[in-house]
Symmetry: C2
Subunit: 119 residues, 2 copies
Amino acid sequence: MYICPMYSSELIKGTLKTIVLNLLKEQGKMYGYEITQKVKDKTSGKIQITEGALYPTLHALEKQGVLDIEKQYIGKRVRKYYKLTEQGKTTADERVTELTDFMNTMRYLLDLEPKLGNA
Amino acid sequence: MYICPMYSSELIKGTLKTIVLNLLKEQGKMYGYEITQKVKDKTSGKIQITEGALYPTLHALEKQGVLDIEKQYIGKRVRKYYKLTEQGKTTADERVTELTDFMNTMRYLLDLEPKLGNA
DNA sequence: GCATATACTTAAGAATCTTATGTATATTTG
DNA sequence: CAAATATACATAAGATTCTTAAGTATATGC
């Protein structure tokens, strides 16, 4: 089967936490594998989060108090659902705002069309 | 004096080459220090390229055949002007297109407003 | 004259991701 | 029903890219 070309990994670097936090804000709770699939589906494979990158990040966010864990057993297999803590909700908002602002700055810097909305 | 808050360095990571290539495409030729100042000015200090990041990148791009060097002496001090090679022009276009596309994908992934233009 | 700005260089370390491997259960398919 | 694939987690070694810091030297402003 055909593997859609991805963005260069340099570009994706640094956006992982923001992606995860925003997804959790929207979906309430998700488990790791689910996150990788959701991102792949929504981007038609152009952004693929590897498990080697995701799991350590989830662990770090948990340790920082941004995420809470909730284990669920599907038969014998464990699933670890992550959700935002109260602090995490704030962090998620901050991160998304920062990324939006950053992308606008990049547009201006590169002399691209400015974007609509949030004037 | 007040130092304007920067974006978190994770976000900026990975966009440096694209920024440099696009600036050179617009300006024809620039030297390293000039690039750092131009980016700082245009972004009101929100993106600051450090010399420790820039110079090694310029050297790498030169080695890859993307940039050409042209030395100029200002009194006794040397300035190294960089400009795009023919290959570099192509690379610059590719990088900018990729970043634009990536930002649109991120907008969609984060359920933000889609951007204007380049439909 | 001294502080600051200009201008380039490079090395050590940190942060983040890729690649690879490991473990194990569940489901699909021939 | 056996084999292949998908689900689901974990982590270590290595690569890449940037930060921090130090070094060198000339030019300019006060």
